[in-house]
């Protein structure tokens, strides 16, 4: 979180609309890095190279609102997020959950996977499991970045972004996002692309405001 990107020149797309609505919203586009170049499967697992090679996950970012929320709404939906393993990749390889949120890691491949993390925010190890075996869910109780590995397949790498804020959304592959039902106040909007690339803007949200906020590349 050391990105210092409060430079005003990237605020070009900031406009303020005047729609009579209590809750504000922010919409915009994060300029994403080009998709990762397709890497060949590791030769060590020669037996698995028959699995079809698919393009790795398209780039995406998580955009979220940070600050002191006076009315901190507890998310009522306790939907369990999913990060599955498919074609020797985590799909999706980036998800965001709220602190206390649970994630499932189902295996959709015909081979074993062993998902684990040594990250400070959450250490866990699901052991080896196959398709249709339920490895159990993981509850992320501390905010932070959790890097997820598969012990068997060294090119598999996923990220679970554990956030304290209830206001977050993952962009689509074009970088588009929309945050709705936002409270009124002074906040920071952050776009998390990877640990070394986090962009942020300060925003002043008024009642019913509709902001357009784009994140240009550094």
């Amino acid at each position: 979180m050391n990105a210092k990107c409060l430079i005003p020149f990237c605020l070009a797309g900031l406009t303020v609309g005047a729609v009579a609505k209590d809750e504000g919203s922010i919409e915009g586009t994060v300029q994403l890095p080009p998709p990762a170049v397709e890497r060949a499967l590791n030769q060590r697992y020669g037996a698995n190279t028959e699995a079809p090679l698919t393009p790795s996950n398209p780039p995406a970012a998580v955009v979220y609102l940070e600050g002191n929320f006076t009315a901190n709404p507890k998310t009522t939906s306790r939907a369990v997020a999913q990060m599955s393993q498919k074609n020797m990749l985590f799909a999706p390889d980036l998800i965001a959950v709220r602190t206390g949120g649970a994630v499932e890691f189902p295996n959709l491949d015909d081979t074993y996977h062993n998902v684990f993390s040594y990250s400070k925010a959450k250490r866990f190890d699901l052991g080896r499991y196959r398709k249709n075996e339920k490895p159990g869910t993981v509850v992320f109780d501390k905010p932070g970045v959790v890097t997820v590995h598969c012990e068997i397949h060294d090119r598999m790498r996923g990220t679970v972004l554990v956030l304290e804020t209830p206001y977050f959304q993952k962009t689509d592959s074009t970088g588009h996002y929309r945050l709705d039902h936002l409270p009124v106040g002074h906040f920071t909007v952050k776009a998390w692309i990877n640990e070394a690339n986090v962009r942020e803007h300060a925003v002043d949200l008024k009642s019913g405001a509709r902001l357009q906020l784009d994140f240009a590349a550094k």
Binding site: F116, S117, Y118, S119, H149, C150, E151, D154, R155
Partner: protein, 723 residues
């Protein structure tokens, strides 16, 4: 006179010392190379076993994840699991071979080269500070270094090699290929130690980064050696003599592969014993020279004194004076002769020195054989090691059997290397007398002997090898039958080996330019010019592990021994022809084959046959009578002498082993009566005559039993013509 003696003494001292020194140096160098080889073998064993393991470990996702999170606890806990077999703190190594592939410590360094502490994990003892210091040159460029590095580093204080470690540094990369840090495995250094041939202790150590690490050597000596090596750093290997407190030492050094700082393996051989030996030899030779000089001096003084007395009287009578002077001159010549005799003795000493040189050549050859022998020992040791260290393989019967079979094959090869030597070391003796042999017959025998090989091939591999003989003439040569047969079988084997697709071998005997010629031609693969030029060298072989490289060199040796010539013609893809030219046993006109050498051309002779065995006498008598010779017989040496005194004989044919008086003794008496009479000695064990030296002086020809009519005819013709 004195000058000559002095010069010879000086030259002998010089040559002897030089030879001694060269031999010593060669011997020690060989020893050093052997020691280095075993040292490097341990390293090789380690690098092949450990390198791959390290690479695997460095790819472990858990280690990468832990290193990425800088979670030292996870890092060392997982590494201890992954490194099993290479590093195990709980199990002390059982033997030396194991110890050499067991690391004494392992550590991780992060991308900045800082050593990550192992905490409570048993990762072996190493002071992190000294490790960091030792690694500074590598860690500094960790981002740019190769995937794996081998280096020697000092991790402790003191100058014992125990303070040194060989480290294998393996870079650990993250999922995107960026360096995260490195895994370092440290191995103790074990050097082979031993004593030289005189029992003096050989010291060995490691030179690393301006410091010399060796046990039991004073600081001053260490410093001296370290500086001398530093001075010669540009060379990868070398040797020099260094004066230490304990006396002069010969020092060898050779660079070791190390990516951090240059490292050298260093061996010290004490020279005190060999220098003493050289000094003793020098004094012996000088003392001998002095003794010779003094003797000469004394003798001349003695005669001079003896002469000086009458000289006073001689003054009166000059005539007497002249005779006396003549006498004195004669005496002086006598003295001279004495001195010359001494000179001859001195030369004999020199000869001894030369003999020593020959012995060293023999040693060199032995080293070559040792090399061949070692080559066959290597798989024996290797497979034995593999079996002993790998229980799973030992349980697998098929695998064990395969290893054992390879062991057996190698052992067989080793024994054949040794047995081949028998023919090889026979010295060439220019005076060697050979019995007479029929070359065509030898060819037939050799073809029959080798038949299992080429006939067997036809069935086993479905190829056809056809051997044809063509006798254009039937040359008779003087030769060692078994050796010549060995030559032919060797050439036939080679010919068959040279035709993996099958083909034709033709063997031809002929007489050209009054020489017996054997051609062995194949239609095989042929030889390149380089191979053709080198194929007669000992231990040169193109058959890989199947050849000892002694076959053709032995062939060459035997042909040389028979004063013959060996010619090789070869064309790639067309085949090779070996041409052996041997001197004919007699002066037969080239066109005349031995079948026409009929008895009628000899005039009838009076022959005395002496043999204690009645049957032998009868056979010889029958032989001789077919050629119209008149024969008298005797059953003992005594009887032979009596008959010989009474009658005139042209020739005596005598058995060697007889009771009372043997053939040689009888021959000596006969020659005393008539020294011109030819004597043929028949022997059943020529080997003994050869071993004792040349043939007996009183005998003209030695023939080996059993004797053929042809051979007897040839010998008689030759002898009668000669007399």
């Amino acid at each position: 006179m004195m000058l000559i003696v002095l010069t010879i003494t000086g030259a002998t001292v010089y040559i002897a010392e030089n030879n001694l020194r060269a031999n010593q140096q060669r011997l020690l160098n060989g020893q050093f190379q052997n020691q280095l080889r075993s040292f490097l073998a341990v390293q090789d064993l380690r690098s092949s076993a450990v390198a791959e393991k390290c690479r695997d470990v460095s790819r472990s996702v858990r280690l990468r994840a832990a290193l990425e999170e800088k979670d030292v606890d996870d890092l060392y806990r997982n590494a201890l699991i992954e490194l099993q077999g290479v590093f195990n703190p709980n199990e002390p190594a059982a033997n030396d071979a194991q110890q050499s592939v067991r690391a004494s410590f392992f550590r991780f360094v992060d991308v900045d080269g800082a050593v990550l502490p192992a905490g409570d994990h048993p990762a072996g003892n190493v002071d992190p500070h000294s490790l960091e210091q030792a690694l500074a040159p590598v860690a500094f460029e960790l981002r740019d270094i190769a995937e794996q590095n081998v280096a020697f580093i000092a991790i402790g204080r003191g100058n014992d090699p125990a303070a040194l470690r060989q480290i294998v540094l393996t870079k650990v990369c993250g999922w995107n290929g960026n360096g995260l840090g490195a895994l370092i495995l440290g191995f103790p250094i074990k050097q082979a130690r031993g004593a030289d041939s005189r029992g003096a202790e050989i010291k060995s150590g490691i030179w690393l980064n301006r410091q010399f690490y060796i046990a039991d050597l004073s600081a001053a000596d260490r410093h001296l050696i370290a500086q001398r090596i530093q001075a010669g750093l540009t060379q990868a290997a070398g040797n020099f003599i260094v004066d230490l407190e304990s006396g002069p030492h010969l020092l060898f050094y050779k660079a070791l592969s190390s990516q951090v700082a240059p490292a050298y393996d260093v061996c010290l051989y004490p020279l005190t014993a060999s220098l003493r030996e050289a000094r003793t030899l020098r004094w012996k030779i000088i003392a001998f020279g002095v003794v010779v000089l003094l003797c000469g001096f004394g003798v001349s003084l003695f005669f001079a004194k003896k002469l000086s007395k009458p000289v006073d009287q001689i003054v009166a009578t000059s005539a007497e004076n002249v005779t006396r002077r003549k006498q004195a001159e004669k005496d002086l010549r006598e003295v001279n002769r004495e001195l010359e005799k001494a000179l001859v003795e001195l030369k004999a000493t020199q000869q001894q020195v030369i003999q020593q040189e020959r012995l060293s050549a023999l040693g060199q050859m032995a080293a070559g054989i040792a090399h061949d022998f070692n080559n066959t020992l290597m798989p024996i040791l290797g497979f034995a090691d593999v079996l002993l260290q790998n229980d799973a393989m030992l349980d697998d019967k098929a695998e064990t059997r395969r290893c054992l079979e390879m062991l057996r094959t190698s052992a067989k090869d080793a024994s054949s290397v040794v047995s081949r030597l028998r023919e090889f070391y026979r010295p060439a003796d220019s005076d060697e007398e050979f019995p007479i042999v029929d070359l065509a017959k030898l060819v037939q025998q050799a073809v029959a002997l080798t038949e299992p090989k080429w006939r067997g091939l036809t069935q086993a591999r479905g190829i056809t090898v056809d051997v044809q003989t063509n006798f254009k003439a039937y040359p008779i040569v003087a030769g060692d039958e078994s050796a010549l047969r060995e030559v032919l079988t060797n050439l036939l084997f080679n010919a068959v080996d040279a035709m993996p697709q099958g083909g034709r071998v033709s063997v031809e005997t002929s007489i050209e330019n009054e020489r017996a010629v054997v051609r062995v031609a194949d239609t095989g693969t042929g030889m390149t010019e380089t191979v053709r030029r080198r194929c007669l060298e000992p231990f040169f072989s193109t058959k890989g592990e199947h050849g000892t490289g002694l076959g053709l060199s032995m062939v060459y040796g035997i042909v040389e021994r028979h004063r013959g010539q060996l010619e090789i013609k070869s064309a790639i893809g067309k085949g090779t022809t070996f041409i052996i030219r041997l001197p004919l046993a007699q002066e037969v006109p080239a066109a005349q084959s031995n079948r026409e050498v009929a008895a009628k051309s000899n005039s009838a002779l009076n022959v005395l046959v002496v043999d204690d065995e009645a049957r032998s006498r009868e056979v010889l008598m029958a032989y001789l009578q077919t050629d119209n010779h008149s024969v008298a017989t005797a059953s003992s040496g005594r009887e032979a002498l009596e008959k010989f005194r009474l009658r005139h004989f042209d020739l005596v044919l005598m058995d060697r082993a007889m009771p009372e008086m043997n053939g040689e003794q009888t021959a000596r008496f006969i020659k005393q009566v008539n020294k011109n009479i030819p004597v043929i000695l028949l022997t059943g064990f020529s080997g003994q005559i050869d071993a004792d030296g040349a043939k007996p002086a009183a005998v003209d020809v030695v023939l080996n039993k059993p004797i053929t009519l042809d051979a007897l005819r040839h010998t008689i013709r030759k002898l009668v013509r000669a007399t």
